[in-house]
């Protein structure tokens, strides 16, 4: 099971994702440079966090034109699991692989802290090892994570069970005070209709070791390992 971690100019969580995958999970991973189009036979693709191209225009707006994104789209179209974390999620939105967009946090400030997420659905490759309704403590670090989509899109996301993570209180209850950035429907992460592409603003790769405050993010990365190993076993 091999992970490809895409490196855009300005990615700054690429090494963190690499550390989590290789050192914590013990799975192989390769960095894929944004100018390359070869995903090197990876079984899953991670678009890491950071400030691709400085995010001077709109988060992720330029990264989506990188040559590597053509390969990522192809990979996704073939059902390959793709995870976009933070800036990676923003790139997936800009690339049209996921619906909606981001506004600035409602405080108009960058926010870095641990938040609570409820896992809404477990039938994606990145949540299959979690329990539905499980609450994860995972950090966020973003200035533009206030998810927005028109009401009809939000309804469609809800109807299709595409809202995968939601900001909640520590006990898993919906509470606007815990909707840290003001996202529509408290959305922290979504998947595509085919359920193989998942994007979320919180950083699971920063929550894989007790030393850094939480291990709740491991389930996101571990899920895809079991998803693929399981698929292999069945085949």
């Amino acid at each position: 099971m091999k992970f490809a971690i895409v490196v855009f100019p300005g990615s700054n969580c690429d090494h963190d994702a690499y550390h989590a995958v290789t050192k914590v999970l013990g799975e192989p991973a390769v960095f894929v440079w944004h100018k390359d189009t070869d995903l090197q036979g990876a079984d899953a693709v991670v678009l890491p966090g950071g400030f691709s191209y400085g995010d001077y225009l709109r988060s992720g707006a330029i990264a989506r034109f990188s040559p590597v994104m053509e390969s990522v789209k192809e990979f996704a179209a073939q059902g390959g699991p793709v995870l976009g974390i933070c800036n990676g999620f923003q790139v997936l939105l800009e690339a049209g692989l996921l619906p909606g967009g981001m506004r600035r946090n409602r405080t108009l400030k960058f926010i870095c802290e641990h938040v609570y997420l409820r896992v809404e659905h477990t039938d994606t490759p990145f949540t299959r090892d979690a329990a539905a309704g499980q609450v994860l403590k995972i950090p966020i670090a973003h200035g533009e994570g206030n998810y927005y989509a028109p009401p009809e899109t939000i309804s469609a996301l809800e109807d299709n069970r595409q809202v995968i993570f939601r900001y909640t209180a520590p006990d898993g209850s919906r509470d606007d005070a815990w909707n840290v950035n003001g996202s529509a429907a408290a959305i922290a992460g979504i998947c595509n209709e085919e359920r193989n592409v998942v994007g979320l603003m919180p950083h699971p790769e920063r929550a894989c070791e007790l030393a850094v405050g939480s291990t709740d993010g491991r389930v996101v990365l571990e899920s895809v390992v079991t998803a693929l190993d399981g698929a292999g076993a069945v085949a």
């Binding site: 700054n12 550390h19 989590a20 400085g54 995010d55 405080t107 400030k109 870095c112 802290e113 950090p139």
Partner: protein
Amino acid sequence: MIDEATIAAHGLAADEYQRVLDILGREPNLIELGIFSVMWSEHCSYKSSRKHLRKLPTEGPRVLQGPGENAGAVDIGDGLAAVFKIESHNHPSFIEPYQGAATGVGGIIRDIFTMGARPIALLDSLRFGPLEDPQTQRILEGVVAGIAGYGNSIGIPTVGGEIAFDESYAGNPLVNVFCLGVARADTLVLGRAEGIGNAVYYVGAKTGRDGIHGATMASEEFDEATADKRPNVQVGDPFMEKLLLEACLEVITTDALVGIQDMGAAGLTCSTCEMGSRGGTGIEIDVARVPQRETGMTPYEIMLSESQERMLFIVKRGREVEVEHIFEKWDLHAVRIGDVTADGLLRVNDKGVAIAEIPNRALADEGPVYDRPTKRPSDLDERQSLDLGSLPVAPSSNDVLHRLLGSPQIASKRWVYRQYDHMVRTNSIVLAGMGAGVVRVKGTKRALAMSVDGNGRYCSLDPYLGGMLAVAESARNVACAGGLPVGATNCLNFGNPERPEIMWQFARAVEGIAEACRQLDVPVTGGNVSLYNETDGVSIQPTPVLGVVGIIEDADRALTRVFRRQGAAVVLLGETGVDLGGTEYLHVMHGIVRGNPPALDLSAERSLQRLLVSAAADGLLESAHDCAEGGVAVTLSECCFDSRGIGAEVSLPQESGTGLDDREDVMLAATLFGETASRVIASVAEENADEFFARAREAGVPARLIGRTGGTRLRVSVDGDVVIDQAVSEIEETWANGLSRYFGGRAA
């Protein structure tokens, strides 16, 4: 023809200009005058401070690189070096808070990665005027946003820092940024131009007209015309710097590189002549080859621009293509602008025609050095006198505690650090706000603890003692996290050195720092001096800020300030005296800054720190927190905060013996809120208590069992009377809102 007005406009004194004439043996042209002017500015030449800085201890068994390079370095084992430095960006941050602070962050990061180190942590030490002033709120908000904007984008966590407030900083805020990186000890890169015929490369952003004479500006006082200097402040581009950072670290893995230097203050001028001077070589460049952002720039402007995110590289002859290729991968254009030469001169050409020729050494090392007169301030005796008997009777200790916890100086800084990405790189094993900054070093068992501290109030009352106390506090904070302090960097923020009273403050503070660093075994490996911090003739409080770095051998044993369990022993380490001089208590409750700061016994301090480090390493401690502003009562409160509400019940003996026994309220204040140095509140699990007390006895460190953790209230009795009894949740709310309340709805 250079006339007197031109010389004066360049900030050169008459005797300095004469020195220029002597060095050149002729009149300089305007370009040469501009080059001398920036290199001999206070900011670049340290001409007022150099004599005093020589007193600092700079050597030690772990020191790999002392002052004089882009940053200092200490050996942290496993073949690795911690590379670190602190630098000020005070003047620009007052003129344009966001960009001033942002480019301060960018500048210090470049100093670290030019040494070949990957930057892994940032800290900030900030000073502002009183927060009630909307102008201060605006400056603070801008500075914090600027630090966040740069650090978050480039992906280096801001893991800690400190903020203090005083009237004297209202027109002259301080923004001191510390950065630490890790490098392989055997591949540290130096800022030297060596090897005749090697290529001089320019890499990074194009040169514009921004920041021309920034270094000269940083060497002047402010007045009302300062707002006109806005074009002197540079604009930061963290994305460009991120590319530079990655490309540099990649180039360093080849051995094609001879040296690197950041173009910071005085830009191309400073980087060329300093690298030449260190390498004992000459440098010849052609300004026409320098990438330019604007049309029609003159050679003078190109040489003096302080555009950000530019670097100078010396590349081995024959290896140029290899290096160019790496930069191209990162979409950076490396341009060969000249060569290393044998004649020791900085020779600047414009399309092949020589337009400036100055010896590198004259610019970088042979600038004027002043032994400026010093004079003890005439009002110091008066300010040091403190008649405790005449203080108005204070309110109840419960009320005082609330007032102190709610004062911005002591209150939670969460509103600030929440805006900083303090977790990126997944090394932050102590989160911001929980004590010293602590980052693990991946690939080893170790972690590095770091802290930046200074107390302008103490220094204004006694700069010698204040300097010592700054070193002690910073090292103590590192020791509280379990780190053995191994090196220091300092940022010396003072007023106008041409005034003897200011120069006296400077000289005394440096002497105090030197003494403390010697006795606590923390050599100074570099730093920065920021003078002329005055507006309209009013100087800031003398503010030396010390950054101390320590090694935690086992990262799993790092400590925070927070009580971890119910029923642990609460221990007060160190002796308490009647120390109310210069305290936050006097300032907040009585509105005065007077008296003598707490005395410091460096040998007791050293024993305390060594005890903390060894006890932490052996897992004997649950938590440790330095007793600083607000004394024991505030320290105990902070140990309860963020603990999910673990309280404590403690009892303390009343201080006495100053002939003020009729003023029980004053003695009570000294007991609870006095700031006697070299004290720590630690919590110790029951099963480790005997062992810990035995070790403290052996180390000669006074250790008193003052109570236990438990419950949800903080209850403190003095001589048997309960004087503080508060629900932790209530005092925590006061503390949590003390700073954020000034930013209203924007705090949420």
